[in-house]
């Protein structure tokens, strides 16, 4: 499927954005019924991320869920906005979690979240650490690597091959989970722009009423999604 959103070169956008070049009018997929277009990602005012962090998250999520092919990518879904808002809020601060020490970040993964860092601190410390590894391996920070190198670097991060402080070892898992959350969560949280991911897979979102459909076996549900705030697509 060709790019449905009229945006031909997202990778250049990401690099340019990362380099601080002002761009305007990044098209995002909007349904006709959406109220007003959201602020373009390069003009988005972050609630938590620094400029460097924002550039990293734009670049990394764009590889985790790329724009090419059918369905929206993380950029079209505005996943970075979702992550920024999550980290600025109670999730980022781990308000609901038990964060009392002592901590053993070297504990095996099956023991759960054992780093002393909350998710917001994790991103803050892990991004420069990962970038430093990228600089050493490729001579460049992650954001400006070629796509294939970015995929290679993310794979190394996922496999635990990037030497990092054990307090940061949960970073890839967290980044990937947050990316998918932002892709599939209700748009009220800042991602899943225009419910594109729901339209793509066929999830009707907050319709939440199917009594008349339950007996229609093996018939594809015909209605598009609605969101908590009442958008339709």
């Amino acid at each position: 499927m060709s790019d449905p959103h009229g945006y031909q070169n997202r990778r250049n956008f990401l690099k340019a954005s990362a380099a601080g070049v002002a761009l305007t009018g990044v098209p995002v997929a909007l349904h006709a019924k959406s109220k007003e277009p959201p602020v373009p990602l390069d003009q988005y005012k972050t609630e938590y991320f620094t400029a460097d962090e924002w550039a990293f998250v734009l670049a990394a999520t764009a590889r985790l869920i790329p724009s090419e092919g059918d369905g929206p990518g993380a950029i079209e879904a505005r996943v970075p906005v979702f992550i920024d808002r999550q980290l600025a809020g109670d999730y980022g601060r781990a308000d609901d979690w038990y964060m009392v020490g002592p901590h053993d970040p070297t504990a095996e993964p099956a023991r759960g979240w054992q780093t002393p860092l909350n998710p917001a601190q994790l991103y803050r410390q892990a991004i420069p650490a990962f970038n430093a590894w990228c600089e050493e391996k490729y001579g460049k920070s992650f954001t400006v690597l070629e796509a294939a190198q970015q995929d290679e670097a993310l794979t190394a991060l996922q496999k635990g091959e990037v030497a990092m402080n054990p307090e940061l070892s949960i970073f890839f898992t967290t980044l990937l989970a947050n990316t998918k959350e932002g892709y599939f969560a209700d748009p009220i949280h800042g991602g899943n722009q225009g419910m594109q991911s729901w339209s793509y897979i066929g999830f009707p979102g907050a319709r939440a009423s199917y009594k008349e459909w339950v007996d229609q076996h093996n018939v594809k549900y015909p209605l598009g999604p609605v969101s908590i705030s009442g958008e339709r697509a």
Binding site: V100, G112, Q158, Y200, I201
Partner: protein, 589 residues
Amino acid sequence: MARIEKKKDVVIVGLGWTGSILGMELAQEGLDIIALERGRDQNTVPDFKYPNQIDELKYGVRFKNMQHPSQMTVTVRRDESETALPYRSLGSFLPGNGVGGAGTHWNGLNWRPQPEELKLRTHVRDNWGEKIIPEDMTLQDYPVSYDDLEPFFTQFEQVAGISGKAGNLNGQIQEGGNPFEGWRSAEFPMPAMPSTYDSTKFRDTVKAMGYHPFPAPAGIASTSYTNPYGMQMGPCNLCGFCERFGCYQYSKSSPQTTILDALKRMPNFSYRTHAEVLRVEMAADGKTATGVTYFDEATQEEVFQPADIVILSSYQLNNVHLMLLSGIGQAYDPATGEGVTGKNYAYQMNGGVTMFFREDHFNPFIGHGANGICIDDFSVNQNDYGALGFIGGAYWRSGSFNGQPIRSMPLPQGTPGWGADWKKAIGEWYGHAMSIGTHGSHMSYRSNHLDLDPVYKDRHGRALMRMTFNWNPNDLRMNQYMKIKAEEVARAMNPDKWQSSFKGLGAKYDVRPYQTTHNTGGHIMSANPREGAVNRYSQAWDKHNVFITGAGNFVQNTQYNPTGLVGGLAYHTAHAIRTLYLRNPRPLV
């Protein structure tokens, strides 16, 4: 110095299912009752209203309806050689919080145990001899029988509004029901829910294989319904937001939909929220409790609430914690086998197969928490333990219970977790998969237990409770047997692709993935005070005015979701207090 409240006849700690049941039944006796609830007040409106509740991220992933570990958690280690580490963020199990407790966010699967499960040691001894019991398995009979509890199972099902089809009415096997269930004195209050496509496909396959399919017993209203307390439920619209959510339309059984509004109208009942009980206070003679001390969140002070009867009806883990902190029952010591509080912690042993059908449309978002067709052909009372090499069994179920994409995105094995191929796969396979779950028993062992952690403290300075828990070879062998049998069914269904997810022998407990909120034991029932913490009426052996309800009473876990047995035991306890205890307060056994 603690503030002191006016004395009550009864103080109830935790206003979930069993606290609501005891509150209602004892309020009918005219007793003056106060319930203390650690969490918030919450009701269908406004807290669960549409569309706000239909938010997978907030409730399904960030657990806003649950107990927050920052308020209360446990530490976990797999064996005594490990240092227990805090369960810092929720994963494996999800205790509830707030009025309604876990009864607000459960899936609604409402099972009775099989009669053999309540007399399991006897069942094993009579059929294979006690020599097949592994040395470290603390297998016991419950001190109550299925026949003792049958009227109370029925009572709970009528209050909770359960939909289903009886398989055994007074000993007569019924077509379309579960032929392997214990006898029922009455048909389900409501007919079974309609079947989704996946469950129908499963039913046809297993029927052709000679098995005995029946609809899952559901705490989900299939029709409009008025229960014995006058509470009304409306028919479910299969929205697919049960587990982890409050029901927005009065269809899922919960304390809110079936008890609480009627209870709140009783003038002799009141409740306080944001009131976290810190300990049970004891009389000088040590034989009775005098009330409880709680922390009042509003005034930030400790409050003593005196009462003649103390009901501990909070979540299983919290009940055990309060007992350990208050000296109710001697703390269990796995080295000697002595002590009772914290003994026989058990869990659930589950596995499943997922099948992919490229051309089929399952619409997985159409469903409810207790959706599905089940079989009990591999259940506790069907398995030949001597031949199979394990004690236990599992019920199987197939039926979509949510299609929420963050958590429910089954993809064929080998699909990358991210990148272009992942994105392609979600478009290709979402809505084209179905699964069969095997939900298995979990025995109790000397090593799996609960005690106080030596290091970590809660916000009140109390020691956290420590869970020592790991999978055991007996239950893993059971799981592996289910794998063999479930894979036969998967192949018979002829999918394009399929895969299994069962625990291998030697698997270790992982606190991260959600497994079940079926934490059981720790204050088990027993026939004598040496073996358990409470007697057959859920009365503390050593403090006769303390009654302790919930799945902590389970001697070992059954193969089923616990709520049906929890509800039946709560009504059994209420009946004992009403008919035996009030006129002459004393140890009832």
